[in-house]
């Protein structure tokens, strides 16, 4: 599909896109980790928020700062910072997530040398009044710190940005819903390219490109094939090849609960009232990621609901090796699925995917079971 090209270009080399964007606009770019970064505040200053995924290859510098037992996202991000691949960034933002990101922030601040470094020290729980108040306080503080670095953000501008982001989220959700209705309408690879680009691209341009994509998709009506319906669960998936392997093995992804997926666009921010409060409220209401607490089993129940709502036949957990929060949640989430007779498999992701043949066999034998 023609509308797709831009997304492929950006998702293949987000840094090249950001550098070009900076040259053309003369504006600033801010790198961040984790879906708990309120991107709207960064966009509100006119800067480009850009999620750092990090390289998966040729680690040369990061290993002298990080032991072998940390996830590839942390290692790859640091590698890009230390080798200068992120030199175009005007600053970086670290929301408090897991123990590894927490230490990465220190190592980064002391070694990477970006013009500014902001830690957004979020609460770890989101289900109490005082934690929500603290979350709001932290967002206000983040806004003040950003304003110091990037200039003032007016409430009007922020509200306008929130509306833009909500519209983007609606379109992303629409793509997901169309795919759930007929998985043959768009490939998994395409969706991956869209979501990944969404975290990088100029958000106004993104809105336009998404609009075009949705309109184009509406015109397509491919015959539904009899692929099995799969849900992906886990953290960050930076392996677009997985989708083609799955499709070859006879399955299509119909929904996900990934950081590089629904966790990015789920939940709208209130468009009336205080904009910062609206942002905080969105995070307080959204289903938590495993690094945050909101009841002891919400994610498990939510996953079962997702499977039901999208008539999926199985779940594949994609978890980065050495990722504590996700690894702790996996056994009970699997158990919740087991109780409902929903088959699942775990794929632990390292820097590189398992050899193609091996992965194909694993997927095939799982999909056959469904």
């Amino acid at each position: 599909m023609k509308a797709m090209e831009i997304f492929y270009e950006i998702s293949r080399d987000p840094y090249a896109y950001a550098r070009k964007w900076k040259n053309q606009t003369g504006k600033k770019a801010v790198g961040y980790f984790c879906s708990y970064t309120p991107e709207e505040l960064i966009s509100g200053t006119g800067a480009l928020p850009l999620r750092i995924f990090g390289t998966r290859e040729h680690i040369t510098c990061a290993d002298s700062h990080l032991q072998s037992y940390c996830c590839s996202l942390v290692r790859g991000g640091l590698e890009d910072a230390l080798t200068g691949r992120l030199a175009f960034l005007d600053g970086t933002v670290f929301p408090h997530t897991c123990d590894s990101i927490q230490r990465l922030s220190d190592i980064w601040r002391l070694n990477a040398g970006f013009p500014f470094h902001i830690d957004v020290i979020l609460p770890v729980k989101l289900d109490t009044e005082s934690a929500r108040t603290y979350l709001l306080d932290v967002f206000h503080k983040f806004r003040r710190e950003l304003e110091q670095e990037l200039g003032p953000i007016s409430d009007e501008k922020l509200s306008e940005t929130i509306r833009l982001y909500n519209n983007i989220r609606r379109l992303l959700e629409e793509i997901y819903l169309m795919r759930s209705a007929n998985p043959a309408v768009i490939s998994g690879r395409d969706v991956y390219a869209v979501v990944k680009s969404a975290m990088v691209m100029d958000r106004n341009d993104l809105y336009g490109a998404l609009r075009k994509t949705v309109d184009a998709l509406k015109k397509e009506s491919p015959a539904a094939d009899n692929s099995k319906r799969i849900v992906l669960a886990g953290g960050v998936c930076n392996h677009p090849d997985i989708y083609s392997h799955l499709e070859k093995a006879g399955a299509r992804v119909v929904w996900d609960e990934l950081c590089t997926g629904t966790r990015y666009f789920e939940g709208m921010a209130d468009e009336s009232g205080d904009p910062v409060a609206a942002l905080a409220q969105r995070y307080a209401d959204r289903i938590v990621c495993p690094a945050k607490h909101c009841g002891a089993d919400k994610r498990g129940r939510n996953l079962v609901d997702i499977v039901k709502n999208h008539q999926a036949q199985g779940v594949i957990f994609l978890i980065l090796k050495f990722c504590d929060p996700h690894s702790f949640d996996y056994p009970y989430m699997k158990e919740y699925l087991d109780k409902k007779n929903i088959p699942s498999m775990l794929l632990e992701l390292e820097e590189q995917l398992p050899a193609e043949g091996q992965l194909a066999t694993r997927f095939e034998s799982f999909i056959e079971m469904l």
Binding site: Q67, I121, P123
Partner: protein, 416 residues
Amino acid sequence: MSGEKIIKNPEPEARDIKSVKRMKEIMTNYYIEAKTAKDQNKMVAWITSGGPVEPLIAMDVIPVYPENYGAMIGASHMAVQLCEIAEQMGYSRDLCGYARSDIAASATGGGPIPGGLPRPDFLVCCNNICGTVLKWYEVLARYFKVPLFIYDTPFIHTEFSEEAKKYVRQQTLEYTQFLEEQTGKKADYGRLEEVGRLSVQAMRLWQKVLDTCMHKPAPMTAFDAFFHLALIVTLRGKQVVIDYYSELLDELNDRIARGIGMIPNEKYRLLWDNLPVWFKTRWLSNKFASHDAALVASTYTNAWSSTVDLIDENDLAGSLGIASSSIYINVSIDKMLAELGTMIKKYEVDGLVMHSNRSCKPYSLGQYDIQKMVMKEFDIPALIIEADQVDERNFSESQIETRIDAFMETIKSKKR
């Protein structure tokens, strides 16, 4: 102190710390009391090692520390077996060994205490040590189907913000309310202040015990401190800790007066960073002793006393959260470096031994940077050994031996 003649370097048995026996009794009694809580009509709460325990004690709830049990499991070489059970349950081998051991011990009643730890009536999790405990306690909350209170202590990268201070203060109130609901009793603030005073007194005494190692030769080593730590972890807020540490302090001071060091020929003094390797303490201790090196202090044992000055005995409720948030492992690596610097000078150490602990990411990630900064700023050698606090599969004896030998050569040539 007695004026008797100084006898240096007695036989190993004579160098053993006598108080150890009493310490074992106290711990046994503590676990018996916890195991029989129901008979005494008392409630049991499981709590993280750095959690604010004083309100529990003031409410007559018996605190139980899975991490202490983890250490016991490690020291009694039962961790691998339990970790493997956890792995069969689906928990990744890369997760903290305390968590894996304890989750498996909870499910099977395993570990050195027959039948395992007493079941909790509720759980208290303070994330000032790691994010692991949050996930671990969620597992426990689902397994035991009991309420979980989370005391959230925002991490301190560059500052302890006013926002965070307000948040922790508020949580102390919520914590008290939670305890009132669980126990059905009203909080007794007078009692809380009293427990707080005992706790502070115990922390100060613990610091004094550790400080005896400023003396050359050190009357005990960090390996002894690892053992004696159990009381400040599990029973702080109780009189028995104060009595015991006073006794221990007397014994150590007596050793100082008589010139008895724990290492027969102490020539080199080292600082240990991170948790102990519980299943290898004796081996490591002998290994260093064979080089005439004494580990005279550790960042780990220090963690239960270093924030004592932040506690306001007259405003325990207001200061507890501040102190809990400020511990060594909840601050950035540059702040850790400053604390290390203070310890390096205070204990006059010749080198730093860092345990890169596969189980504990928040303690270990960043050590490579700290190592470089320590060597540069304080001009002492720093060694990193890759190991694990309890999982023996992550320990390569020959490799570690070679590294320690090489490190000691560096230290020796530097001191020459």
